[in-house]
């Protein structure tokens, strides 16, 4: 994979075609649309210009095309017309550019100038090549046809210079009036962006505040109270023998989930020299992290805070104990574990209460965890989202003190708990400006819309950790008439030169000087740009974490009243998170790792409560708090505290693209402002059945393994005794005819059920790599999702505190494949290197192969799925053909990647090395060795070692289908 360094360039395309993804659903409901053999406009002459086939042509005249397509005028320096062919862009060969997505160093794969795939940057010492599902899906959002096509004033499109003039005038006016000027951004960690904002603020006397709907303000504030520094924590799970997590979904949505998963999973490997870590989770509703815990305790927010208090008491003797008898053993257990691992333990809390976080700090401090398993990430270049600041900003908006408000990449009208107050506030602000990519609730209320670029059209930089910086470079020409927000700020300051120049200068000034390896600033710049990540020392000065008292916090926390009603908890799905990417169909259709539901949010009810109130999954219920109400389907979710209702935020968008609009209900309203920070819980809630029923679009509806040994598991204790434990009984296999000879490469895959967290990043990576169609809510409800890679999730034991098993399931590439025998036309056959191949062109669609597949991994094209959105078709991988209706498809082991790897080796006249070929799912897996792929004929390859391991087993091996995909037993540290 050649990673060629160039400046991000690409074609311009302003196509806005009708009919976005959800039309797939409409299609199914509308027989008329179904009758169309081809998607709309397949053959109209104009659309051909936008189609993949003639892409080079477009690139050819892109420069001249820019004005026509109404894009901003770009200096020719940045556009590379194909008339003079760019020698770094070879048709048919991918270019890889290093960039960053939301703090994750990544590589962007572009083909003929189109970004089509995101992969982790394995040069990063923090994320080590992992990406999460959002990162994987981000490339599709780039091609969202709902994006702004240029700036707007009073919701009328204008030209940028016109926009700048008017805005400048308004800013001046408000300054004269002596009104306040606020800039609202998310918590930033970009050195150059921060410096631009600082520059801007000082020039216009603006106040810069950071706001995130699901901020970690409480933790940062706690650090300020404990150690005098408002900063977030940086964790090192590698050193933690014991992890006690209160409500922190650190593998899914909390903190740097990718880095966390990498470190955490490395300690899940039972062969790790430091042994296997022990993970205790206390939470009110089942989270991805909780589902991976060795010991998971379902406890309401109140109970878990009491447990926290008692642990504090147990460790430090400080504070009061409010232990409910039933929890005393839990507490004593935790205390025992922690005390036994001084300096090697870690207590985390996702609690958004500041005092709770102070207590956590105290416990960690007392256990000597600082410096070992965590430290205060006092990053030079970081602003922390501050609930208190924003709260007061909202107040001052309403009191009419604010003259100008910039909302940069924030959407408080949607995601602030008191939306009405923000709305009324913005109405009182004379000059409100939204820097958004596409229309959202906030931008629709703002006077100005400074349409901004997508991440992959932008320049930026990121401080990833105390030791690492990462670059963001554009990988395609801005598709619409948008502008990255720092450039807007610069032009408002009448700065000449682009943000690209600014950032270059900034790096020369601040970072080039910090290193000695490279002589000239240009070399440093080019190298940084090429590698993406740069490691430098001294980016975060150490914070003194000396002892302090948590007494007051303890008593404050103990004083919180919970009431008798239901406790409503809002959480984030690891896919759609806060809803800023809600318009991304890949994310919407990716099943939630726990509920396996798609295209919706819902009220999680505990089985016990459901029984009591006669609530069934799919019953539409009205959830009420003192201030907020939503009406959504209920889902009976094992592992939910009895008096708790958990609802995912990120849904119920009112102003959004076709996919997200009016999908589910907005749960942000259930957050509340308590003790100086926004809490994601509220008491005194109630739930009532409406009598309506709305079936959930779940990809899995049966949750028990029915006693079949599908997921084989054991405990660490037993494993220590016997490495075969849990995997002793092997089926007796009898061959009635000799197997075919296996020479040359023989591909195989192993999946480690111990390290796999079920994060579902592999699913979306597979979607992107293999052009897996999105089918829409209705079709998922019809049990026809097309995912080649799926994650089966099984429950075991007590439904109040179930044990959870995640099992990635994909085509097992059986040597004795049952699907092959039954196909009358040889549309599915076996390759000499051991792959089960599906020949799309030959398939007539009898579906017998799917019936005869014991793993049910084959997917049938029931319709011609919607590809009418020409823009989103840009994301298609040209190496993988899209499938028409009536044919079967399934995991191909990324045959195109295998081929690429083989050709690469051949071109370089060498043998294929182990690890040359990485499959899409494997590449994106944030877990260490979660998925291993390779040539089992290569005796010292990793795959051979894994296959030889005592934990290795084949699912349903008794059928003697001889799968090439095998699994490693799940080990719980008990």
């Amino acid at each position: 994979m050649s990673k060629i360094e160039t400046k991000g360039t690409g074609p311009a395309d302003a196509s806005k075609t009708e009919g976005y993804w959800q039309d797939v659903e409409n299609k199914v409901l509308d027989p008329e649309a179904l009758n169309k053999e081809f998607p709309d406009g397949e053959f109209d002459s104009f659309s051909v210009e936008k189609s993949r086939r003639s892409f080079l042509k477009i690139m050819g005249f892109s420069v001249t095309a820019l004005p026509l397509t109404g894009c901003i005028k770009i200096p020719v320096r940045k556009a590379i017309p194909y008339l003079h062919k760019n020698d770094t862009v070879i048709p048919g060969v991918a270019n890889w550019y290093a960039s960053t997505w939301k703090g994750t160093p990544i590589l962007v794969k572009t083909r003929e100038g189109r970004p089509i795939k995101i992969e982790g940057n394995d040069k990063s010492s923090v994320t080590m090549g992992g990406v999460d599902s959002q990162g994987q899906a981000s490339v599709l959002s780039l091609y969202d046809s709902n994006r702004f096509n240029g700036p707007q004033m009073d919701s009328k499109s204008v030209e940028w210079d016109q926009f700048d003039k008017a805005l400048k005038a308004d800013i001046a006016k408000s300054a004269e009036a002596g009104k306040e000027f606020y800039i609202v951004t998310p918590g930033l960690n970009s050195p150059s962006e921060i410096s631009v904002i600082e520059k801007f603020s000082s020039k216009f006397g603006a106040k810069h505040i950071s706001y995130e709907p699901s901020s970690q303000y409480s933790a940062a504030k706690a650090n300020e109270m404990s150690f005098g520094k408002l900063a977030l924590n940086e964790y090192n799970f590698k050193n933690a023998n014991v992890i006690v997590s209160f409500e922190a979904d650190f593998l899914g949505t909390w903190g740097n989930n990718i880095a966390n998963t990498k470190q955490y999973s490395s300690r899940r490997n039972p062969k790790n020299a430091m042994g296997m870590n022990k993970h205790i989770q206390i939470e009110a509703s089942m989270s991805l992290t909780g589902s991976n815990a060795d010991y998971r305790y379902t406890r309401s927010t109140e109970e878990s805070r009491n447990i926290l208090l008692s642990v504090l008491k147990g460790i430090t003797g400080e504070g009061s104990t409010k232990v409910i008898d039933t929890n005393s053993d839990v507490v004593s257990g935790i205390v025992k574990e922690l005390k036994a691992n001084i300096g090697k333990s870690l207590v985390i809390s996702g609690d958004r209460d500041i005092d709770a976080q102070v207590i956590v700090n105290k416990i960690n401090q007392a256990l000597g965890s600082y410096g070992s398993t965590l430290n205060v990430a006092n990053n030079k270049y970081a602003t922390v989202a501050n609930d208190a600041d924003f709260n007061s900003f909202v107040t001052s908006m309403n009191s009419g003190e604010v003259g100008v408000a910039f909302f940069i990449g924030t959407n408080p009208v949607y995601d602030y708990f008191d939306s009405a107050k923000v709305t009324s506030g913005i109405a009182k602000v004379a000059t409100s400006v939204s820097f958004a990519m596409s229309a959202d609730e906030t931008s629709s209320l703002c006077k100005y819309v400074a349409a901004s670029n997508h991440n992959y059209e932008s320049w930026s930089d990121t401080q990833v950790s105390g030791k690492e910086l990462s670059f963001t470079q554009p990988v395609i020409q801005a598709l619409f008439g948008t502008r990255m927000y720092p450039e807007t700020l610069l032009s408002l300051m009448d700065e000449t030169g682009s943000f690209h120049d600014y950032i270059k200068a900034f790096w020369a000034k601040n970072f080039f000087t910090k290193q000695s390896a490279l002589a000239t600033a240009t070399d440093f710049w080019n190298k940084s740009l090429h590698d993406g990540v740069v490691s430098l020392e001294g980016l975060s000065p150490k914070v003194n974490t000396s002892s302090f008292s948590a007494k007051t916090s303890a008593s404050k926390l103990a004083s919180i009243k919970y009431g008798t009603g239901l406790n409503i908890v809002t959480y984030r799905k690891s896919t759609t998170k806060d809803g800023d990417m809600a318009n991304n169909p890949w994310l919407q259709e990716c099943p939630d790792p726990i509920t396996k539901a798609t295209w919706d949010n819902y009220a999680m009810v505990s089985p016990a409560y459901a029984k009591e109130k006669g609530i069934k999954s799919g019953d539409v219920v009205t959830v009420k708090s003192a201030t907020h109400t939503v009406t959504i389907p209920a889902i009976v979710q094992p592992g939910t505290a009895k008096n708790t209702i958990a609802i995912a935020v990120g849904y119920g968008r009112k102003v959004a693209g076709k996919v997200a609009k009016n999908l589910g209900g907005n749960a942000f309203g259930f957050n509340s402002f308590v003790h100086g920070s926004i809490h994601n819980t509220t008491s005194f809630g109630s739930i009532t059945k409406t009598g309506k029923f709305k079936g959930l679009a779940q990809t899995q509806t049966h949750h028990s393994m029915e006693g079949r040994d599908i997921v084989r598991e054991t405990t660490f204790a037993e494993y220590a005794q016997n490495s075969k434990s849990g995997n002793e009984k092997k089926a007796k296999i009898v061959h009635i005819y000799p197997p075919h000879k296996k020479d040359g490469h023989q591909w195989a895959m192993t999946i480690d059920l111990t390290t796999c967290t079920g994060c579902s990043s592999c699913i979306i990576s597979c979607n992107a790599e293999n052009n897996v169609p999105v089918v829409g809510r209705q079709e998922v409800a019809n049990r026809r999702e097309m995912h080649w890679m799926r994650l089966d999730r099984y429950y075991k034991g007590d439904e109040n505190q179930p044990e959870v098993m995640h099992m990635p399931m994909l085509c097992q590439h059986c040597e004795n494949a049952p699907c092959e025998n039954v196909c009358p036309v040889m549309a599915t056959v076996h390759s000499s290197d051991g792959l089960n191949q599906q020949v799309y062109n030959r398939c007539v669609g009898t579906r017998y192969c799917a019936n005869n597949c014991p793993y049910k991994v084959r997917r049938f094209n029931w319709f011609n799925y919607d590809r009418s959105d020409k823009l989103s078709n840009m994301v298609l991988n040209p190496d993988v053909s899209t499938r028409s209706r009536g044919i079967m498809e399934k995991c191909s082991m990324c045959i195109q990647r295998i081929q690429e790897g083989k050709l690469e080796a051949k071109r370089e006249r060498r043998d294929l090395k182990d690890g040359d070929i990485k499959l899409a799912c494997q590449q994106s897996c944030p877990a260490e060795d979660g998925i291993v792929f390779g040539d089992m004929n290569d005796k010292d390859s990793k795959i051979s070692k894994h296959i030889g391991d005592d934990r290795n087993y084949a699912v349903l091996e008794e059928l003697n289908v001889q799968p090439r995909v095998t699994y490693m037993t799940k080990i719980r540290n008990k």
Partner: protein, 174 residues
């Protein structure tokens, strides 16, 4: 080509059978007998040789068997062997059903074809109809006039229950 025939009409198949035996025993050879349904024993009585159809069937069936098995072996194991479900290229048991079906197919259709050829039956053929009743309730015996003595035969047939005996000129291929 036209010919004169002695035509005897019967209304009862037993009488017909009886008469036929008599006529044959008198060494008068009968040109043909037309009946609305197969009168059992009549063919033996007329001394018609056993039909060769079964041999045709056997030959055709055998050919079908060999072709089918041969073709399957050739395509699966010789012409383009492809790994299917880890099975050997030459998996004979899997070839049996189709071999069987083709055997039947060829056997049956060839036999039918042979039958039609032997009796010169084909769509649109003009049938030799001596009496419209011969496909209803009449049994017609035809004896070539010049191969026999009309008077004697007429008498013989009459006394054996022919309801009518006449000499008729018949176009054998209308």
């Amino acid at each position: 080509m036209k010919k004169d025939f002695v035509i005897a009409t019967f209304e009862c198949d037993e009488k017909l059978l009886h008469t036929t035996e008599k006529v044959i025993s008198k060494n008068i050879d009968i040109y043909d007998i037309y009946t609305p349904f197969p009168v059992h024993g009549l063919d033996e009585a007329m001394g018609i040789k056993r039909s060769v159809l079964p041999y045709v069937t056997f030959a055709a069936g055998l050919t079908g068997l060999l072709i089918a098995m041969g073709f399957q072996v050739w395509t699966s194991a010789i012409d383009w062997p492809i790994i299917i479900g880890g099975k050997p290229f030459l998996s004979i048991p899997a070839f049996i059903p189709i071999t069987f079906e083709i055997t039947i197919l060829l056997g049956a259709h060839t036999t039918v074809a042979a039958f039609l050829l032997m009796n010169k039956l084909y769509p649109g053929k003009q049938a030799v109809i001596i009496d419209p009743g011969q496909t209803d309730d009449k049994f017609i015996m035809a004896i070539e006039k010049d191969k026999t003595n009309v008077e004697d035969v007429t008498a013989l047939l009459k006394e054996n229950g022919a309801i009518e005996v006449r000499v008729q000129n018949i176009d054998l291929n209308p």
